[in-house]
Structures are given as C-alpha cells and as structure tokens.
C-alpha cells in the first residue's frame, strides 16, 4: 500500500486558463503547491529552422505568428535588422507610422490581457468589455492592412502603403480613454480583486533579474528599464515609463492599465505628427535581392511581454545562416517554477495569469 500524501496535478495542455497550451505539472499538498514543473513545446512550430530555408521576404509574413497578439513588434524587429544591415535609412513618416501602429498593437495586446486575467480570477464582464474595445482596434487594422491579426504591414525599408483612416484612430483614442476609466471603476478597487492580487506573487527584483524577466513585469517590481527610452524609433515621442514598486500581481495589473494610457498618449502624438508631415516617401529595399553581408546582427525592442530580440548570423547569402528569437514569455514560464511554490491553487492561477504568458512566444 502506498502512503502518498501529495497529489500530482496535471494542469493543461488543454485547460481554460493556461492561455493556450501550457502544461504545468503541479505537486499539491491539499491545495498548496509544493513544486511546479512547466512543460512547453505543444505549439513549437520550428520558426527558427524555417528561417534557414526561406529568403527574408518569404520569412517576413510568418514572423507575425510568433506573437499573434502583437505581431507588429516581430515584423518590426526583422525589418529593422535587415535595414540596419543594409544601411537603409527610414523616412520620418515611416518612423511615425511604425510607432503609431506598434503602440496601437500594444494596446490591443494589453486589452486582451486585462480581459483574460479577470477571466482567470472568475470575473466575466471585463473580458467582454475589453474584447469589445479590442475589436475596434482590430477592425481598424483590417481596414488598413486587410488582416485582423497578422498584418504583414511593415516591409523592408518602409511600410506596405500609406497610413489612412486617421479619424478611426482618433475615435479609438476617445472611446478607450473613457473605457479605461470604466475598467478601473469595476476592477481596481473591487475588494475581492484586491484581496486576490495585493501581496500575491511577489516578484523581488533579484528574482526577476535572475530569471531574466523584462518588460512590464520588471517595471512593476520597481526597476526602471524601458527599451523605448533608448529606442531610436521612438525619438521625438514623449512618454513616461510606468514604474510601480508594489511587486505583486496588483502592481502588474495596474502597470498594464497605466501603460495603456501611456500608449494612448503616444498614439495621439503620432496622429498629430502624421497630420503635419506630408505624403509618404519611402525607399523600399528590393526584397528579391536582399543579401545580408556576412556577419552577425542583433536588435531588440520593447514588446508587450518584455524584451524581444532577434539575432541573425549571415554568411552573405539570401537566407540567414542562423536566426534566433528571444521572447519575454519564455522566461516568464520558467519563472513559474519559483513563483508558484507555496501558493494555493487558485492564487497560482491568478499569479500565472498576471505574468502575461502567451504560448506561441514561448514555443516559437
């Protein structure tokens, strides 16, 4: 007869709150978690190997799928690396268009997170409200690029076509500014919400550094590290990186809400600047003849889920010799191993949700 006193619980890969196909193998004592072992790879599509067999322009459309909530960021990374390698300069308008769309995409991504996080906590309506606003942004993207999620809008040297329908973005800004207040009204001070998030899942800066956590999660632990501040693309835009010092799930929630507002500000600036500059003039790189000179190229960007970076090693051919993506969520999953130990099961779900893990980014 066995006298096992712990329970092994297999959470996922098909589970409503793992946001995709994450699998957590939990060891429980009652409902207390003794150990947590993430198992990933259920969505591994071999993006890095694919790059070695495709030319740059062939590879560009697939890049959006690395992070389906904020595909723009990854196209931007690839475009930027190729542009830097070939020494192409972006025109002023292209830069503004890119920043505007990136931030709009970040808003869409954070909105989904707000809904999904509250869904994890058991609240129903915020999900629907957030999705309603997200739908507006997706509709706009569809109008502009023809696709709701995989835009394939940034190309080497510029954008596919001139930006249009600026009044739609203005409406999005107007609506969202009011709606974010509404979210805060029903969520932020809700006693059940605060009881479930304040003091839960505390991420000390040391632990965050050790686990290579970046992005909003790091900033909610009081570290001022926002790549956008040093990014040359964001030159001329005024915004404040959101820094909170509470370190818990609530801070991560609040930081994302504040970041939504900051992003709205950037989009607003982008629109006023877009109106000022004239027609789009850009010098596209001929995609059929792209050959990166031999060498190694590296660039990074502040994606919604932390630092995203790309590494390309080229041997002077039209295909990369090796291409490596670094994504934020991948390290967040690894952090669960440390963060969930000692928590109760339903807190664990909330903590895992608050880190904003998205599986295609983890599995690539």
């Amino acid at each position: 007869m066995t006298t096992a006193t712990t329970l092994k619980l297999n959470l996922g890969p098909q589970h409503p709150s793992t946001h995709g196909v994450l699998r957590l193998i939990l060891e429980l004592d009652g409902e207390k978690i003794l150990s947590c072992e993430p198992d990933i790879g259920y969505l591994h599509r071999g993006m890095e190997k694919m790059a070695e067999g495709l030319t740059y322009i062939q590879y560009l459309p697939t890049v959006d799928r690395i992070d389906y909530l904020a595909g723009c960021f990854y196209s931007e990374l690839l475009c930027r690396t190729v542009e830097q390698a070939l020494g192409a300069e972006l025109s002023e308008k292209v830069k503004i268009i890119r920043v505007t769309l990136l931030e709009l995409n970040r808003i869409a991504s954070h909105l989904l997170w707000v809904g999904a996080f509250l869904m994890d906590l058991g609240a129903l309506s915020p999900f629907f409200y957030a999705m309603r606003e997200r739908e507006m942004i997706l509709r706009y993207f569809e109008k502009l690029t023809g696709q709701r999620m995989m835009y394939n809008y940034f190309v080497f040297g510029g954008v596919r076509k001139d930006i249009d329908y600026l009044e739609d973005i203005e409406e999005i800004i107007n609506v969202l500014t009011k709606k974010i207040d509404d979210y805060e009204k029903i969520i932020t001070d809700n006693p059940i919400f605060t009881a479930r998030t304040i003091g839960k899942g505390i991420l000390e800066p040391e632990l965050a550094f050790n686990n290579s956590i970046t992005g909003v999660n790091l900033r909610a632990s009081g570290i001022n590290y926002d790549l956008r501040k040093t990014d040359r693309l964001y030159e001329g835009f005024e915004f404040e990186p959101v820094i909170l010092y509470e370190k818990d799930s609530w801070a991560r929630y609040k930081a994302r809400i504040l970041e939504l507002r900051e992003s709205l500000k950037i989009v607003e600036q982008g629109i006023s600047r877009l109106k000022a500059v004239g027609k789009l003039d850009q010098k596209l790189i001929n995609p059929l003849t792209i050959k990166l000179p031999e060498g190694e190229y590296y660039s990074e960007i502040e994606a919604p889920r932390g630092l995203a970076s790309i590494y390309i090693m080229s041997k002077g051919e039209d295909k990369p010799y090796r291409l490596k993506w670094r994504t934020g969520s991948y390290y967040a999953v690894n952090l669960l191993r440390r963060l969930l130990v000692g928590e109760y099961l339903n807190d664990a779900i909330a903590i895992a949700g608050s880190l904003d893990i998205i599986l295609p980014e983890v599995d690539k």
């Binding site: 790879g41 550094f209 686990n211 290579s212 590494y311 090693m313 090796r322 670094r326 952090l335």
Partner: protein, 144 residues
C-alpha cells in the same frame, strides 16, 4: 568592464568586434562578470551550429550601467552550465540541449523540451534531415 580581469581568469581570450571570445572556463568568467560588474541579467544564450563545432553566445546585461557584454565560446558536445548563477539559464540550456544536443554539465534536468520525448535528432543542427518518414503514419504506409 575591464578586459584585464577576464584575462586573469582565462589567458586565452580575445576580442572580435564587440564579442569576447574565450576558449574555456566560461562559468568563472560569467561568475566574475555577475559578481564584480553587476551584470545581473542573462538576456539569452544563443547557439549556432558552425559545422564541426557549436558556438554559444552569452548575452549579459547590467541594468544599472545599461551595458551589455557578449561572451562567446565554441564547444563540441559538452559545455559548462551556468544554472547556479542564473535561473534563466535553465530554460536556455534546456532549449539548446533540445535543439542542438549539447550536454550542459551541472544542469541536472535536461530533457526534450519542444519535441516529444522519443523524437530523434536535433532539429536546429545543420545536418538534421527534415524527412517525415520517421513519423508514425508514414511508417504504416511504408510497411503496407
């Protein structure tokens, strides 16, 4: 960051572009960088298959000085693990083990990560043949 300090640890060390190439004892170098120069974040470990050997790139980052350090080491089939120093290395090393088949000495729980347990071959190696004949349903076809 002072290159002399690193040279004290490993004598064979040279700088290409902005990359510090070492031949051995990567663990000690990274430990030194972490403890004495506050490189607290290991942004990523990248592996590149160069044909006969595999290059590992360690990208370290210091938040206080906003400074980056890029370390490179070329290995055959085994490498030193830095799991003791950085938790995040556990994920990176596991990924490299899965994709390139490199054993990290000191990392206890290396396992297939992205691929199923019984998968053969290491996909990101250059000699990996991408054929479907080993997959279950194609086996059936061949037998029939």
């Amino acid at each position: 960051m002072n290159i002399e300090d690193i040279k004290n640890i490993v004598s064979e060390c040279d700088i290409e572009d902005n990359k510090i190439c070492v031949k051995s004892r990567i663990y000690d170098v990274i430990k030194c960088l972490k403890n004495e120069y506050s490189f607290k974040i290991l942004k990523s470990i990248t592996a590149i298959d160069l044909g006969d050997e595999i290059e590992l790139l360690y990208k370290l980052f210091s938040v206080e000085d906003e400074e980056e350090a890029l370390l490179s080491i070329k290995v055959k089939a085994e490498a030193e693990s830095v799991v003791d120093l950085f938790d995040s290395a556990r994920a990176d090393e596991n990924e490299i083990y899965d994709m390139f088949g490199i054993q990290f000495i000191g990392n206890e729980d290396l396992k297939r990560l992205y691929m199923p347990e019984n998968w053969e071959g290491f996909p990101l190696r250059k000699d990996y043949i991408q054929d479907d004949t080993r997959l279950a349903w194609n086996d059936d076809c061949n037998n029939a």
